[in-house]
Amino acid sequence: MRDRIECDVAIVGGGIVGGSAALFLRQAGLSVTLLERDCCGAKASGVNFGGVRRQGRPLEQLPLSQRAHAIWGRLPELLGTDAEYIRSGHLKLARSEPDLASLIEYRERSQGFGLGLEIITGEAFRRRWPALGDRAIGGSLCPEDGHANPRLVSPAFARAAARAGAVVRERTPVDRVERDGDRFVLVSGDALEVRARFLLNTAGAWSGRVAEAFGEPVPLESLHPNMAVTEPLPRFLDVNIGVEGGGVYGRQVPRGNMVVGGGRGFALDADRARPQRDAVLTLMRDAAELFPQLRHAHVIRCWTGVEGYTPDRNPIIGPSRTTPGLFHAFGFSGAGFQIGPGVGQTLAELVTAGETAMPLEPFRIDRFAAPA
């Protein structure tokens, strides 16, 4: 005998986007059922690098990113935990004059979005970050960016939604989703049937199936970011580090462990991935080159996850072009963690008000369709 739930909004996928959407929808008074195939926040939202970063994003993402920034500032009040979120600053390094020029150019182009970027070079740069002094000629600092522990943040959004009255069902994969008159019907095996007026497709790398079910196939590819962490080390770094044009990034957590990322893992199957040997070795080499303090450290663990990438590396956000009441938000291409809560809030707005002031045009789902 299947459980049956009738509600205003059904959400497929309990990552940071689905979890935050559920929370904001509950705050608006709608009834919400959130279905998660595994554990909430256990996939890409929970295993990413943990950078909470606006700097370096394409300009079209910055309004949503700014919106998210305000939500990150209220984390303890929203979630009851700070989840190790620190506004440490995000420093993007330039290792050459052309790289510095592109950082300066990004600062110019992103003026007016309120990132407050500072270009720091030469003696001032070396004085401020002696640890990085001979690795880079300068950098661009976004003082209010930072980092957080994704393993704590992402599940906490779904938990806060549940505390606010959302029905959260974990280990509940959706096998069938269809339209029945003005209702969406979602079926999970023999366990559960959910009927809802609205449907949010926030299933990360698995969102393509839902979109396809409503006649909107998307070229979504699964990729696997390669991460590693060292044992705790003496503090030498207070900022989240990226490199202009380079594939390595790093942050030192309050305990002293250094988290670094770069390269790709490989898929075991559609649901699981593993770090790849050459990527691990390359990452260690690059990290030691960038951070000489790691020379005598050990990597104690590597990991990866499954993330959905679009061809243009921009997410798909907004209303379905085929089905009223359906909204998509997926394909964040390895950069969904910071922006996620802003997107969740925007989805809640689309459901409750039918519109949003956020510019979503660049994220239309049909932008990849072959021109007619």
Binding site: C39, A42, G46, N48, F49, G50, G51, R53, G56, K92, P150, R151, L152, P155, R159, P225, N226, T230, E231, G242, V243, G245, G246, G247, Y249, R255, G261, G262, G263, R264, R274, P275, Q276, R277, D278, A279, V280, L281, T282, M284, R285, A287, A288, L294, R295, H296, A297, H298, V299, I300, R301, C302, W303, E307, R313, G334, A335, G336, F337, Q338
Partner: protein, 478 residues
């Protein structure tokens, strides 16, 4: 069935054995006899494994009889077996296997990493102590039973001048006896198993009079030298400021007592080292006797992945004698799977002897049961994961609040199992705490998924011939 490597150019990869203890050596011996030249990879500098660990080269002159006691003959035979085939194997001592991926292992030796493709893989990875924490267990002077035995065998030194032996399992009495023989004062043997349980199990030990006789001898010898042996005890705490000064324990009657000592050796049986089997893709099942998730294997040691074999304590705890037999048995299975002739009579003999040991194993398990209630007594503020500083209370909290019903989730939320040991030390504790808080069996909370590196990997690792991993597209993710 051969492994087809997707990554490495087609070479004729050798069979590879991981571990040069009794299982690995007997496996290598059998492969060499069939004309193969296996690679034998081992973390130690000299072969023998943990149980027959050899002292470092040079300057150590203790005779084998002193090092291995009753087992000197077996130790010597295993050592000689490897010496005899030394020139016909590709032997890689001081080498850590840190990963297994796409039909190849990753080896770390002398600071350099290299991939080693294999045609077949025999995992003879052995075991480490199973421990549960008690207050004060992180004080200097508290060692595992296995660790205290290694100190004696390998270095010829004791962990203290006056040592208390705590826990349960055959190793408890053996190591206490070895310490006494080596001239160390033994403050007492504190066995968590009630006397009545052990006495009942002793009847079953008559199946294996030799083992029973040894056990009785250890106990008799200890008693004759005035060593107090207490059954049915529970630890209260290890006391001390700079280091252990006493073991406070509760006797079978519930009275709190104190044993002055300057070191404690403790352990509750052994746990298999299964990370490589996991990375190799083997399916696991929960084993009631070992109270652990183990790689599935058939009677010959074949894992669920064709071409991967498990032998010795790494596939399930059965002791050194079984490890020798299982190593040879797995090698015979490998030869058979390669289409080579094998001696059917020998196979039958090995299977029979392994079955007899397995039957006796059940008797031993009954004599030294795992103290399942121990975990309930661990105070919330007791640290269970030293790498990450996680308390028992933190693990119980994520279970009680419904946030974690399974090990990997508990790890993500509390960090237990995320540190240097990757859960090899704290995993058993976390599983017990999680399952007992949830009111389920230990099987219901699953197992920690292995990730490379299986032991810490120096950042400065040299890659002699980088084949250029796919670099990222220059984007910073998240």
């Amino acid at each position: 069935m051969e492994f087809v490597s997707e990554v490495f150019p087609p070479v004729i990869a050798p069979p590879v054995i991981v571990g040069a203890g009794p299982a690995g050596i007997r496996a290598a011996e059998r492969l060499v006899a069939a004309g193969l030249r296996p690679v034998v990879v081992d973390e130690a500098a000299r072969w023998g494994g943990q149980i027959y660990r050899q002292p470092p080269d040079g300057g150590f002159t203790r005779p084998k009889a002193a090092l291995y006691g009753f087992e000197a003959g077996k130790a010597d035979a295993v050592h000689r077996a490897m010496a005899a085939i030394r020139d016909r194997v590709d032997y890689r001592p001081r080498t850590l296997v840190w990963n297994c991926e796409a039909g190849a292992l990753d080896l770390l030796c002398d600071g350099a990493s290299e991939p080693l493709p294999f045609s077949h893989l025999i995992l003879a990875t052995g075991a480490t102590d199973r421990v549960l924490p008690f207050p004060g267990w992180t004080l200097p002077g508290v060692f595992t039973l296995g660790g205290s035995q290694v100190a004696l065998k390998f270095q010829g030194c004791a962990i203290g001048r006056r040592v208390a032996f705590l826990g349960t399992g055959p190793l408890l009495y053996l190591v206490a006896y070895q310490y006494l023989k080596a001239g160390v004062e033994v403050a007492g043997v504190f066995d968590t198993t009630p006397f009545a349980v052990q006495a009942r199990a002793t009847a079953g030990m008559l199946r294996d009079p030799a083992t029973l006789a040894k056990g009785l001898l250890f106990v008799g010898w200890l008693r004759a030298h005035g060593v107090p042996i207490h059954n049915g005890v529970r630890p209260v705490r290890a006391e001390g400021t700079e280091q252990v000064e006493a073991l406070v324990w509760r006797d079978a009657g519930g009275r709190e007592r104190r044993a002055p000592c300057d070191a404690v050796a403790f352990g509750l049986g052994l746990r298999s080292e299964t990370q490589l089997a996991d990375l190799a893709g083997c399916r696991f099942r929960f084993d009631e006797a070992d109270r652990a998730w183990l790689p599935e294997r058939d009677g010959a040691g074949r894992g669920s992945v064709p071409g991967v074999y498990l032998a010795g304590d790494g596939g399930g705890i059965a002791g050194a004698d079984a490890a020798e037999l299982a190593g040879e048995r797995a090698a015979l299975a490998l030869l058979e799977d390669r289409g080579l002739p094998v001696d059917a009579a020998r196979v039958k003999e090995l299977d029979g002897r392994l079955a007899r040991i397995a039957a006796f194993r059940r008797v031993l398990d009954a004599a030294f049961p795992f103290p399942a209630d121990w975990a309930d007594a661990i105070a919330d503020d007791t640290m269970i994961c030293r790498c990450e500083g996680v308390t028992a209370g933190a693990v119980r909290e994520v279970a009680r609040s419904g946030q974690a019903g399974e090990m990997n989730r508990a790890k993500a939320l509390t960090r237990a199992g995320m540190g240097r040991c990757q859960g090899r030390m704290c995993g058993a504790t976390a599983a017990e705490l999680l399952s007992r808080t949830l009111g389920t069996g230990p099987d219901a909370v699953g197992r920690l998924r292995a990730q490379p590196p299986i032991k810490p990997l120096p950042i400065a690792t040299v890659v002699p011939s980088p084949r250029g991993g796919e670099s990222s597209d220059g984007r910073e993710v998240a």
